[in-house]
Subunit: 451 residues, 2 copies
């Protein structure tokens, strides 16, 4: 993996690497569909107004302009397009576009609406390991009309745990918290700018407890005791529901805190039973984006914690609305490119061969191309990926061609119409009938296996 | 299909429409892989210099700029970014990016390199039926190192004919011509600006023969006789190789013409045999893009000719090169969005149900959710897409929920643990074992069938 992208932050895979990515994408799709999630895609392009309507965002957005558009060109030179809410830009996640899609198509959707969405997104951030400017996300969300039972928060976490378990990746932990719990707690200790406290706590891993305490005091007017309590809450981390007692022991009383505790307890209880070892209650998790209102999730790969979260999301009760009609939702987003980059750079998994092709039909003479196509068609009819040689080179050269491409079998037909197939890895060559021969099961399709 | 896109030219599908698109994409992928094409994706973003390096293009390109990039913002206001070849823009097709990818990764690829690529592309053109600003293309190409046997031109046409035949679309015709044939012919009658003649002939369907003759005379200095001959060539259209005699009868002699005739003859001969009725030699086909050097192809849906070409491409011998090393290629590109839009707007095909889910497991009591998840897991283990109800509503309401979502089966478990499954379309309800029950084959997965 010595290759570097020719444009920093815009990774591209070689064909055999792409097979690993395809395996990841296929596995996610299969899991999501087995759980009844419908596929949708939204356009890559949103209006700037739509992308920024939740206020200041910390994502770097790519704006679009038609190179041949003279009018816009003139406007740009007047500096007027930056503030135009109708200007177009590339989406930076799939949640904001999904919320827009739900509102626009509410009359055509059956609620609660379950969808998965696997698409590229773009952020103009400084590229680094695990952070690209163009990358693929795989999201699942459930959105209700008016209300959405909390049970979906539990279900989404379990589906994601199942999906991640099916991937060729190291062990992982969903770190789950609840904004109601945190906000209720902050309110209970007298810190009213709960969003501000969350933003500070969100920096805990980056800048450490002392600096966060400093921020809480200098920016939010917290007392030493308030800062200490907020930080104490963030240290609580349990693999079962014992976090409830630990929070209670801090002696804070608040109705929203109670609600949050009960919700997080339900998620952790179900996870202990149905996805043992995959989920922890982690009260330091805050999530930067301000549209979350309850459950919040980040996910680490065990042993690869510095890679950052590979799956994040949560509950959002107010992201989508149409007049008085609200569409609360809950969802999680897997960072596919981040995962695949790591799988490839650390060779955690690989494809059993470099190409889909299982069989190369060799040519005896240049005139036998059409007959060779008949053989290939017969094999393909049974699902065996097959190529036909383009030229009647010497057999040795045709075998070398297959070997170079990673094709395991070469098919020969002699002048008398006798067929043989050679496994070029073992050298074994056997008689074969184009109407019935099949390769061993493990050679039929490309397989992706962990190292 | 009364819905219109909220952003003109950026179509989005409803979940049941997306199932049709997914079926089209899956079918193409399967066909391409059976023929040994490897999947790759290239980044959506290229430098402007890369996109425009083949000179003036007729595609409207979307340029990118980071909204938060103060420096670029300042540059824009000085009007300096338009001419910056390092500025970023969205790709307008998949051929130019593929050529760049081949050159960059030549050391890692085995040639001839066969790849398919299914991605979105963007063009800032005026949207109309069959022409979107964001749309999906599905391309196959074979690229050689130094040389590429002509046989691949034949093979690519046959693979595409097979792929299109597998789609839920009306009958189609690949209209095939050869640039060598046309250019040799023009040269043979004394018209040396062969690219200019091709550009004029390309307008034949749009402006008619008289106006093209006028252009040939006024812009290219053609005599009446030369213009007449060029137009006569463009009227030749045969379903077999008889076009060769018809061209010969025009009495023009040129070595390049001979080469082009022989190449087109090979393609048509193979197609008559292996894809009967799907291919015509059509000597009016020119293709606008100037990188084609031999075979050129456009494809019409029979009865939907006004939709424009649904699959185009051809041979390009000089698109990709690295110093003296040339990478000639041949490829075709299917306009997936154009096809899917037509399938949906004319209801040519539809999905057997609106969601992947085959079974809804109903809840007897709210406490039975976990037991219901066990049943669901058992069904999913056999590939049956299953959802669990979120609330123990009255059974009638849970059935209604399944009906509204298009789920065919509802699973009930009574207090004694007795299981039954109901086909809510027929009303039939039978005893069922979660460890063994499966739905009828035709209900296991969503099927997409032609109307």
């Amino acid at each position: 993996m010595a290759r570097t992208a020719s444009l920093s932050g815009f990774p591209e895979w070689l064909p055999e690497e792409r097979l690993v990515e395809l395996h990841v994408l296929d596995t996610l799709r299969k899991t999501f569909e087995l759980h009844g999630f419908s596929s949708i895609e939204t356009r890559a392009v949103e209006t700037v107004g739509q992308l920024l309507r939740k206020g200041e965002i910390d994502k770097e957005v790519y704006g679009l302009s038609r190179l041949q558009d003279e009018e816009a060109e003139a406007a740009k030179q007047n500096g007027s397009d930056k503030s135009d809410p109708n200007a177009l830009a590339l989406h930076f996640d799939l949640t904001v576009p999904f919320a827009r899609y739900v509102v626009e198509n509410a009359g055509y959707l059956a609620f609660p609406f379950r969808r998965y969405q696997i698409q590229k997104v773009w952020r103009g951030e400084r590229p680094q390991e695990g952070r690209a400017r163009e990358f693929t996300q795989a999201d699942i969300d459930v959105v209700g009309d008016g209300e959405l039972p909390f049970r979906y928060d539990v279900e989404i976490a379990l589906v994601i745990a199942e999906a991640l378990s099916a991937l060729p990746i190291p062990d992982f932990r969903l770190r789950i918290n609840n904004r109601k719990l945190a906000e209720g707690f902050y309110r209970g200790i007298g810190l009213t700018d709960t969003a501000g406290v969350l933003r500070s706590i969100d920096k805990l891993e980056k800048i450490g407890a002392d600096k966060v305490a400093g921020l809480l005091k200098s920016e939010l007017g917290a007392t030493d005791e308030q800062a200490a309590l907020a930080l104490q809450l963030a240290t609580i981390r349990t693999e079962d529901t014992s976090f409830v007692d630990q929070v209670r022991a801090l002696g804070v009383k608040d109705a929203l805190l109670d609600e949050g505790l009960s919700e997080l307890q339900q998620v952790i209880e179900a996870a202990v039973q149905r996805a043992p070892g995959k989920v922890v209650a982690d009260l330091s998790i805050a999530r930067g984006l301000d549209y979350y209102t309850g459950t919040v999730v980040e996910t680490v790969l065990v042993g690869h914690e510095q890679l950052g979260s590979i799956c994040s999301g949560g509950r959002y009760d107010a992201l989508a609305s149409k007049g008085n009609r609200k569409f609360p939702g809950v969802g999680l987003s897997i960072g596919v490119t981040r995962l695949v980059s790591r799988i490839l750079s650390q060779e955690l998994a690989s494809a059993s061969r470099a190409v889909p092709t299982a069989v190369l039909v060799a040519l005896n003479t240049d005139d036998s191309w059409s007959a060779a196509q008949d053989i290939a068609a017969s094999l393909r009819g049974r699902g065996i990926a097959t190529e036909v040689a383009a030229k009647a080179d010497k057999f040795g050269k045709q075998i070398k061609f297959a070997d170079r491409r990673g094709i395991p079998f070469v098919w020969f037909t002699d002048d008398d119409g006798k067929h043989q197939v050679k496994d070029i890895r073992s050298g074994e060559q056997v008689d074969a009938d184009p109407m019935s021969w099949t390769p061993p099961e493990e050679d039929l399709h490309v397989r992706v296996t962990t190292a």
